[in-house]
């Protein structure tokens, strides 16, 4: 394991201790405290994952997230205070994969990062799934809709794969949090809701009237008509 993490956090103490922790956990870390600098560095090196603070000088974390998503489907984990959870939802809507609230213990952060990275490495090799006009190839990490490639983040891909593997089964948010995000117990259900919204935006003909991923009110989601 030698994944390269771009850590963007403006507080020097947090930046240093997080770098230390991530390095001890076996990651290679490039750290910066500035949004613009973060974008410059992101464009220079290949990274496997970005850890991004919401509040940053010069260019805030949400803008950085938007810029990165414009160019790449790289996994992004946001750092935020609980009082900034509104910003976190915006970050998730912009395509962040997960978030960790401050204050956090390093093992928490490491666990979240590993969970996200696990999503972007191919699972047990399965055959491609072809359902409702979608071709989902777990090995190649690709989704084609009507012959065209659809660019999905690792989280969106896992979510689609879990749902499409068992069409018509209703998945509770908690189950999806467990299957996709690896939360063993009561994660934030907004992770699921926002990811489903983004996924619909990419694969549905009309995201406002979804046909593929249906909401089961008060319960969760399912793939296709029940």
């Amino acid at each position: 394991m030698d994944e390269h993490v771009l850590l963007v956090e403006d507080d020097p103490s947090i930046r240093e201790v997080a770098s230390l922790g991530l390095e001890q956990a076996g990651f290679r870390v490039t750290a910066t405290g500035d949004g613009r600098d973060a974008l410059t560095r992101f464009r220079q090196g290949p990274f496997d994952l970005v850890v991004l603070d919401v509040m940053l000088p010069s260019l805030d974390g949400l803008e950085v997230c938007r810029e990165i998503r414009r160019e790449s489907q790289i996994p992004i984990v946001m750092l935020s205070a609980r009082s900034e959870l509104h910003d976190v939802v915006v970050g998730l809507e912009l395509g962040a994969d997960d978030y960790v609230t401050k204050p956090f213990e390093l093992p928490e952060l490491v666990a979240r990062i590993k969970a996200v990275l696990r999503r972007s490495t191919a699972g047990p090799s399965e055959g491609a799934i072809s359902v409702a006009g979608l071709e989902i190839d777990p090995a190649g990490f690709s989704v084609r809709k009507g012959g065209e490639d659809v660019a999905l983040t690792a989280t969106e891909f896992r979510l689609l794969l879990e749902l499409a593997r068992r069409p018509k089964q209703v998945f509770t948010r908690d189950l999806l949090l467990e299957l996709v995000w690896n939360y063993d117990y009561l994660g934030d259900s907004r992770l699921v809701d926002v990811a489903v919204q983004r996924l619909r935006g990419k694969i549905e003909d009309d995201p406002a009237q979804p046909k593929l991923i249906q909401t089961v009110r008060g319960v969760g989601y399912r793939f296709g008509q029940g």
């Binding site: 507080d11 947090i14 997080a18 001890q24 205070a81 204050p103 908690d174």
Partner: protein, 444 residues
């Protein structure tokens, strides 16, 4: 009875009674005058009739009746002469003359009395003629009676109309008078409902005017006082939120550093290991405190929202207990109760209540999940219990029932749990008996 109706009725009574007294007085005065007039003119006519009677009687009663003018006389004549009755009309006879009058006339006096004949009213005036004859004249009084009846009706009608008018006027007056009272009570109600800017219009310089002024002064004082209080409270809460917020960044660094340190405790020299352990534990305590402070200030700012889903309360409680590693110390008895609520908040509440019980209640904590009118979670322990004087304050922030037993809590746990319960439309109840134990019940 409302004051308005009482005032109206009193007004009607006053007007009605005085009008009735006035009307009755004038009616009886008029009646007396008219009847006396009638008697006077009857008597005059009778005297004249009696004076000329002896001349004509000797020629027979018909001569007498002729002299009186027959039917045009305006009166009927009956009489009795030497024991034989006679009459000018078929409708009347001496038998119709009242007995009292007969006795009076029998004694040789002139007299009168009123009587009715076949439904008509008459004034009967009689007197003797010589020794052997009595004459009685029936003067009709129907017209007089009719006039009196008309007068009576007019007066009664007038009184009735006056009473009605008095009713209207009284109601109007009462409403006018009592309007400030109604307005004042509406204003007091709206003050009580929290509309502190409520004021009364000050009209006129009467008692109501100065009353309204005092009311307004009171409302203004109240408004200022409450505005001051809530500004102070908002400042205080803002300050708490700011402090918690500002603590967050250094705390994040601290927590990170402590968790790095925690991984290397074993490789530390013995003399620095214990302080490092304490440091790690204290950073954890500080973290919990700051997180609780931040959470309670979010409640104060009204920033908390509910993410409702279908929840099975029994399963949620079971997994809460399991996730915290309490299953060995907790007897769980859970029915299947489904509801729509926010599972994360429910989890927080249940974890807090069970955590408290596990901390204070020795090892036999019982948790019951069920439904009686509404879903509930009941957490009871057989610990030392809580003294009665502490019970009302248990949900206050930083309230410690027993300073020596403050334990590892932040002092905000129950306050947060109660806020969460309220946000979910429920409440937490507490029962405790020193020596027997404590029972917290979350009702939804």
């Amino acid at each position: 009875m409302p004051l308005r109706r009482r005032l109206t009725i009193a007004f009607m009574l006053a007007v009605g009674l005085s009008a009735a007294a006035l009307a009755a007085g004038s009616y009886f005065a008029v009646r007396h005058t008219l009847l006396a007039d009638s008697v006077r003119s009857g008597e005059r006519q009778a005297r004249r009739n009696l004076a000329i009677a002896p001349v004509y009687l000797s020629q027979g009663t018909d001569q007498l009746f002729a002299a009186y003018g027959r039917g045009a006389a305006g009166f009927l004549t009956v009489g009795i002469r030497r024991g034989r009755p006679f009459s000018s009309s078929l409708g009347a006879s001496v038998r119709e003359v009242p007995a009292g009058l007969r006795r009076l006339v029998g004694r040789g006096d002139l007299g009168y009395e009123r009587t009715s004949l076949a439904g008509d009213n008459y004034l009967v005036v009689g007197g003797p003629v010589g020794r052997d004859t009595e004459l009685y004249f029936f003067f009709p009084e129907n017209d007089l009676r009719h006039e009196l009846a008309v007068l009576r009706n007019i007066l009664a009608g007038g009184v009735g109309i006056l009473v009605l008018l008095a009713g209207f006027a009284g109601a109007l007056l009462a409403r006018q008078t009592l309007r400030p009272v109604g307005r004042a009570s509406a204003a007091a109600r709206s003050l009580a409902e929290g509309l502190l800017e409520t004021r009364l219009p000050v009209e006129g310089r009467d008692e109501f005017g100065s009353w309204a002024q005092s009311f307004n002064e009171m409302a203004a004082a109240l408004e200022t006082k409450i505005a001051d209080l809530s500004a102070a409270q908002a400042r205080e809460r803002r300050f708490t939120a700011d402090v918690a917020h500002e603590l967050r960044t250094p705390l994040t660094a601290l927590v990170g550093e402590a968790s790095l340190l925690a991984e290397h405790l074993d490789s530390m020299p013995l003399e620095s290991r214990r302080p490092a352990e304490l440091l790690v534990a204290d950073v954890g305590r500080l973290r919990r405190l700051v997180e609780d402070l931040m959470e309670i200030s979010r409640f104060d700012a009204g920033q908390e929202s509910v993410h409702a889903e279908t929840v099975e309360l029994g399963a949620l409680t079971a997994s809460t207990v399991r996730a915290r590693g309490w299953e060995r110390r907790v007897q769980l008895e859970a029915d299947e109760v489904e509801l729509t609520s926010d599972p994360r908040r429910l989890e927080r509440i249940v974890a807090n209540l069970v955590g408290n019980a596990v901390e204070h209640g020795d090892n036999d904590v019982a948790v019951r999940v069920g439904s009686d009118g509404g879903p509930f979670v009941e957490v009871s322990d057989h610990g030392p219990g809580i003294a009665r004087e502490h019970l009302p304050h248990l949900f206050e922030r930083f309230y410690k029932a027993d300073a020596a037993r403050s334990g590892g809590g932040t002092g905000l746990g129950l306050a947060i749990a109660q806020e969460n319960a309220r946000l979910l439309g429920g409440r937490i109840e507490v029962w405790s008996e020193p020596g027997e134990g404590t029972r917290f019940t979350l009702r939804l």
